[in-house]
Each structure stands twice: as structure tokens, then as C-alpha cells.
Symmetry: C2
Subunit: 351 residues, 2 copies
Amino acid sequence: MNRFWSKRIQNIVPYTPGEQPKDRQFIKLNTNECPYSPSPKVIEAINRAAGDSLRLYPDPECVELRAAIAKREGLDINRVFCGNGSDEILAFAFQAFFDPDREVVFPKITYSFYPVYTDFFGLKRREVPMNPDFSDPIDLLCGNNGGVVLANPNAPTGIAVGLGTVEKLLNANPDVVVIVDEAYIDFGADSAVSLIGRYPNLLVVQTTSKSRALAGLRVGWAMGDAGLIDGLRCVRDSINSYTVDRLAQAGAAAAIRDEDYFQSIRRRVMDTRSWTEKSLKEKSFTVLNSQANFVFASHPNHSGKELLDGLRERGILVRWWDKPEIRNWLRISIGTDEDMEALVQALGELI
Amino acid sequence: MNRFWSKRIQNIVPYTPGEQPKDRQFIKLNTNECPYSPSPKVIEAINRAAGDSLRLYPDPECVELRAAIAKREGLDINRVFCGNGSDEILAFAFQAFFDPDREVVFPKITYSFYPVYTDFFGLKRREVPMNPDFSDPIDLLCGNNGGVVLANPNAPTGIAVGLGTVEKLLNANPDVVVIVDEAYIDFGADSAVSLIGRYPNLLVVQTTSKSRALAGLRVGWAMGDAGLIDGLRCVRDSINSYTVDRLAQAGAAAAIRDEDYFQSIRRRVMDTRSWTEKSLKEKSFTVLNSQANFVFASHPNHSGKELLDGLRERGILVRWWDKPEIRNWLRISIGTDEDMEALVQALGELI
């Protein structure tokens, strides 16, 4: 705190990103990054874009990148909006579509940035308790709210809902925007993009950070009715007109276009996830059914914090939250086969 | 408008960035970009950073880049904050340091994003009329306000104030933050960075977009007391933890380190500005005394709009605002010598 701080920030507890250690080589299973390199075509596109044209502002409307996304998804380009990572898109959406007088609702256990957004933007929220099996409490997200946010698959549980469930949410909340945060959609769940034409209240948010191996490039996008896209544009142009730099636009467009590479690495991640789930269960872990690039696991005889610390001593970082409902759980990103073998071996030593 | 838009955005008039035409080759003197390429060392640094590590999140604290800035400016690193362009930094600062109950003050003719910020963040503002010669109305920015924003040099006038004037503002407003927006500082004016140790209410904002020829990379930074920097960090971590991607961090750090290249291109721009001022005055233009990489000029017999349109027909873009005080003025970015010769010739044909 400082005497010059605004009232707005005096009582904020900001989001805490996963640790990015620089002092030591860890097996990094704490921030859901992809263990494989980005497509070689991405690197080529960046190298081509790194030249004289960097002296010029980027295209504020990201037309080339939006066209690549629109083409892949079979959407009109005016249904696509790009930003500096899906977090920025979410922050824009909370400002564009939610008002202070009505509660924004989302599951109690979900991406921990959502309550930060509601606090920071002066919105009310209702965090809905999870079902006992950690699945999403869909009925409690239906009606009587000022907006819905659903991560699908959810984080940190990894549990996904089907499109029928998403449609139920959209039909039950016709007068408010339903944000479906699909950061992890490419690892086994069905995207709600196919519903966009039928639901003007649907906003789907995706990112290059996970399945395109580009967390370091900061590109996310929203897809939805053109009126919603215009709302995001209005927020952006009230804050920072040029949010996606030239290199990020070029690299992300190349990533979207390289479908073969994308398919190959997402399959590898899913295969490794199956092996990891099986191996952890053999060691008596409970592992939720994940459709994401991480698993959420707990052991009957060892606390989450104990395993977190023990893994760290063995050079492996995973993620743990000091919240009552999930204190005994670890979120473990899916790395390479070798990473996960090291993880399973280390956990074997700890239990 | 759309029925799902929040009240916050329903009445907002967003910022309009300068045109970025794609259909035709123009001589682009409308967005104050640098006419020279970025340093070759920037391109090398970007090519080095474009590899496997893009799969990992960037350093959210931008330590390497902040260290480069801190070293150049003789500051402690905890007095430096980096973001996705200086517009993002300004947007963060308005949220971090200004409250809705007191007016933020700035000159009436200045960077047109400031009133957008006050509107969008629900702040009151007082836009202070310019002195008759378009110099900044400093006395009217002293006291009785909730924060001060001064672009130095000012845009679109190009007029700079000296450090004594900045100190006057800081001393007259000891209980509020004074933001000095130095986007154009490197073309002849004195930076307020040297005052930071003595004024805890001073926040200086700079960018790589102009004097480092990197508008396409989107990197800006703030310098000030560590308590102010912490406030910016609090805002960032409530919106988007990773605002500067790996390539932008690497490229901007290389640009800051290449002092020789920086000095050579800023001198070329200043030399070309001198020639342009002289040439325009020879054609009976009034040209304000600019310390920026643009000039602000008007002609006694021709309206600003008439000259804007005539230049556009001749393949030259400049910037014009439909505001009563400056309707007869054009803001003309300084391009290469050849660009400016073409401009002067085209204006000669038009008058």
C-alpha cells in the first residue's frame, strides 16, 4: 500500500500466477504449459515478421489472425476478436457485459482469476458450491444472475461438460451473457463454437497458450455474436487500441493454420494423460476424469501440501491451493512421457 | 450497441487510432511512427527468442527488460514497470491512482486517449484551456484536483516544458499523482526521470514505439517511486498477469541497450524536423516549436480538412482532428527526408 493508491486497488487481492523459477531447472508441471515446441511454421512466420515493419503499429483489428481462426472454425470474421492472451479477453468481457447491480455466477472451484475480475471491476458474484464429485453445479448456474462464467473443461478439476449442458445454460440464461472459457478445450471436450449462430448470448474464449504451445506469445480470442464482439472492441479501444503485436499476430496465425501439428501434439498430451491417470491410480491416488492438459489428484494418506513440498524437493513443480475444498489435491500439468515417469516415481517415493 | 452490453460501455466513445491503410502504398505521416528500421540487434534478439521457449509463459515481471531500462536511466529496478505499450500503462495508472470523487486535470488539447480513460474508468475530469500560443496551461494544473496528466512534449502540438515546470507541477500537487507521458521525450526535451528520487508523486511513462522504431512490438514502461510501481503491478495482476510476450521483452531489451543506434535515428529525425519546419514556414505555414517526431502546422488560407484531403489524394496521410481549437491544423509525422520533400511539394501544389 501507498498513500497514492486509488480506493479501487486498496483492498484488491490480485491473481497469483504459477511460479516461473529462474534459479534452477525444474520439471515444470505447474502452469499447464505444453511440453512440446511450437510448430516450426510458427517460428518461420515470426522470423519473417521480425524486420523493418516492426517500426509500424500492428493491425489493431488483427485481420489476418482473425481470418485464420474464422476459417478454421467456419465462422464469419466479424464473430472473432483477438487479444493479448485469454486473460485479457476475459477481463474485457467482464467489463463489456456485466453490471454491478446483478451477481455474476460461476462454480466455487474454478479458474481463480474470475473472483479477482469481479472484485476489481466492482461486480457482485455468487460462487456456487460444486457437486460432491467436483462436477460443475449446472442447475445453480441457471437463472437469477447477471452473467455466467463456465470454464469447460473446468480448472483445476479437468472435468468437462457436454454441449447439451452448455445449451441448457444458454437457454436458462437468455438475457445475460454466458462466457464459456475453453482454454483447455482441445484435449478431449467439445467446443461450444458450433452453438454460436443459435445463441446471441454465448461468448467462447480460447487461447494459443495450451494446445498450440505458445504461452510465451500471449494470444487469445473470443468467438460469438458480432454484437458481443463489438462490445469487446469498445472496451479495447477505451484502454489500448493495439493489444496484439506484429510478431504475436503472425505467429498465432501460423499456429492456427498448422492443423496437422496441432493434432499431433494434442494427441500426444492426451496419450500421456491416460498413462499418468492409470499410473497414479495404481498408487492409490484418486484422479478426476480430466479432459484437459492436466490432472487433479489426491492421495488418501498424504496432504496436498506435503506432496507439493516433497515434489519440489525432488525438482518437480506442481500447483496446489490453500482452499478448504481442495487442500488435499494437486493439479499436475501433463508434460512429456519422461516428465510424467519422473513424477510418478517421485510420488512413489513420497507415499 | 447490443442488448447485452454493460452500462459502462453503452455511452463510451472509444479512442480512434490513426488509419493503417492496407489497400494502397501511402507516405504514412499520420501515426508518428519512426521512418527508420529498428536496430539490427533487436531483430537478432527476437530471432534468438523465437524457439522452444515460446511454449512457456513469459516472465510476468519482465526482469531482463526492466534491468536494461533501470541501468540506462540509473534507477533501481523496483522503480520500473513494463507493459503492453504505453497506452496500457496509462490505463493501469488511471485505475491505480485516480478516484471518482476528484477531478483528473489535463490540458484541453492533448493526447485524445486521456478523456477516454476518464470516461471509461468512471472518473471526473477537468480539461484546462490552452494558452493562446498552444503552450500548456501549467498554472491551471496546479492544485484543486485528484491527479494530473501532462504529455511532455505535448501531442499534437509538439511543445515541451522544461524540468522547472514539471517540478512546479509536482510541488503544487504533492498529494496526487502527476503522470508525465514522455512518449515523445527523445526528440529534444528533458526527461523527468531525474526527478524521481525527490518526488514520490511522479510517474514517468515512456515507450519503444517512437524513438526505438518499435511501434509494432507494443512495449511501454513507467518509472517512479516503488510504491507507485507496486500499484501498477496490483492493477496488472487483477487483469492479465502476463502482458508482455517473450519476443517483445527480448526485442525491447535489445533496443534499450543499443544506445548508439537510438542516438543516430533520433538525431536524423530531429534534423529532418528542422528542415521540415523551415520549408513549411517558407510556404507561409505557421509551425509550432516541436520537440517531438511530428510538427503541428496551419496555413492562413487553407483549412486543415482541405489540406488533409488534398494530401491524401496525393498519397500522403497526415492527422487532423475535427475540434474547434485545432480544426485548421495538421499533425505531420516526421518521415525520411524523401517523405518530407514529397510532403512539402504536395503542400506547395495545394496552396
